[in-house]
């Protein structure tokens, strides 16, 4: 997953279990391990293919996320990511002069999953990383015997209270639930001089427009927070209101400053540096 995992509240046994959990998810869902189940599925030319229980559960959740977000978080954007140039582990990527590909719009409505039998349109490539990391964080938290938190690459789930630092400045007290931040400040590169990033507009199959640099959301789980943060990022100026409609607090960073939505102001308050959206 290309990130550090920080855990509080685990003994040696739980820590080992959490490490194994992340390693299993990496082996199953990495786009960069040739033998990952994801890549085996994406290489298969069969119309229908049997997948593991873990894969089926995760894909089912990714399809739920697509439904929850009106298709914004689409699990069929593997080709689009590769066309944008994200075809290897991010640590190995370099900007270059080769142009980006055309991109391929999402097609999640054409994916069918019946128990463990998967069918998808010919040529489509799945990318489940819209939910994989956050689900791993939530599942790891369940392994803790009591209070604590699990954080992976800045996506966090906590039980019993944790003070979470916010991008740039400020903090919130997460008593129970998840906090996630999505944005384009880290995973960005250039193709033929054009800026690319990993948050793809499913309608065009190309990296989305950049209104925000980072969007932070708190929700009942890390998975919910991460899905909502990505959707709000992709929605641009409509992101704050979209989160308000779902009673989710959102904090939006851009080069011009930081804004928070109404729910954030109600629940967490408006930091001095922030302006309301």
């Amino acid at each position: 997953m290309g990130c550090d995992v920080v855990v509080a509240g685990a003994g040696e046994e739980q820590m080992g279990a959490i490490r194994s959990l992340f390693e299993r998810r990496e082996r199953a869902f990495s786009r960069f391990l040739p033998d990952s189940e994801l890549n085996r599925v994406n290489r298969s030319v069969a119309n229908a293919i049997a997948v593991s229980e873990l894969f089926a559960e995760t894909l089912a959740d990714a399809l739920r996320a697509a439904a929850q977000t009106g298709g914004l978080i689409d699990p069929t954007l593997g080709v689009a990511l590769e066309d944008a140039g994200y075809d290897r582990d991010f640590a190995l990527m370099r900007s270059d002069r080769s142009p980006a590909g055309r991109g391929a719009p999402g097609c999640f409505t054409a994916v069918q999953l019946r128990e463990r039998m998967l069918s998808r349109p010919y040529g489509a490539k799945l990318d489940l990383n819209g939910v994989v990391k956050a689900r791993a964080v939530d599942d790891a938290l369940r392994l803790l015997p009591g209070s604590g938190f699990v954080a992976a690459g800045g996506d966090i789930a906590a039980r019993g209270g944790a003070v979470i630092g916010l991008p740039g400045a400020g903090a919130l007290n997460l008593r129970q639930g998840g906090v996630a931040t999505s944005g384009s400040t880290r995973r960005r590169w250039r193709r033929n001089g054009q800026l690319q990033h990993h948050l793809i507009d499913p309608a065009t199959g190309r990296p989305s427009g950049l209104i925000w640099s980072l969007v932070t959301v708190a929700a009942a789980t890390c998975r919910d927070a991460d899905v909502a943060a990505k959707a709000a990022f992709l929605l641009g100026a409509d992101g704050p209101g979209w989160l308000d409609e779902r009673n989710l607090p959102g904090r939006f960073s851009s080069p011009a400053g930081v804004v928070t939505n109404r729910t954030w102001q109600t629940v967490i308050g408006a930091p001095q540096a922030a302006m309301s959206a």
Binding site: V7, A91, P167, N173, A203, L214, A219, A237, A256, M275
Partner: protein, 89 residues
């Protein structure tokens, strides 16, 4: 730290130095050798204006979906030091 790869031990030490490892908290790299080390976002938070222009995506977002649950969250007091930070990975 016997049995712990040097890279991870160094990372733990670095996290500890930054106050991210405390008590029983420990850290490891989810993808050994490929990990990013930062948990903190790099964007400055000083605000002056609000950006409102936009091309809203292509969203097919429709009616509110009740599928999202709410966190139990509250403001942090000025005396509370973050245990960990959220940021884009």
């Amino acid at each position: 730290m016997p049995g712990i790869p040097i890279s991870i031990a160094r990372r733990r030490a670095a996290l500890a130095k930054r106050g991210l490892v405390f008590g029983s908290a420990v850290a490891f790299a989810a993808a050994v050798g490929l990990a990013h080390s930062s948990h903190a976002a790099s964007t400055a938070a000083t605000a002056s204006t609000t950006t409102t222009t936009s091309t809203s995506p292509s969203s097919q977002a429709t009616a509110p979906n009740p599928g999202f649950g709410q966190a139990d969250v509250a403001p942090a007091t000025s005396s509370q030091t973050p245990s960990v930070s959220t940021g884009a990975s």
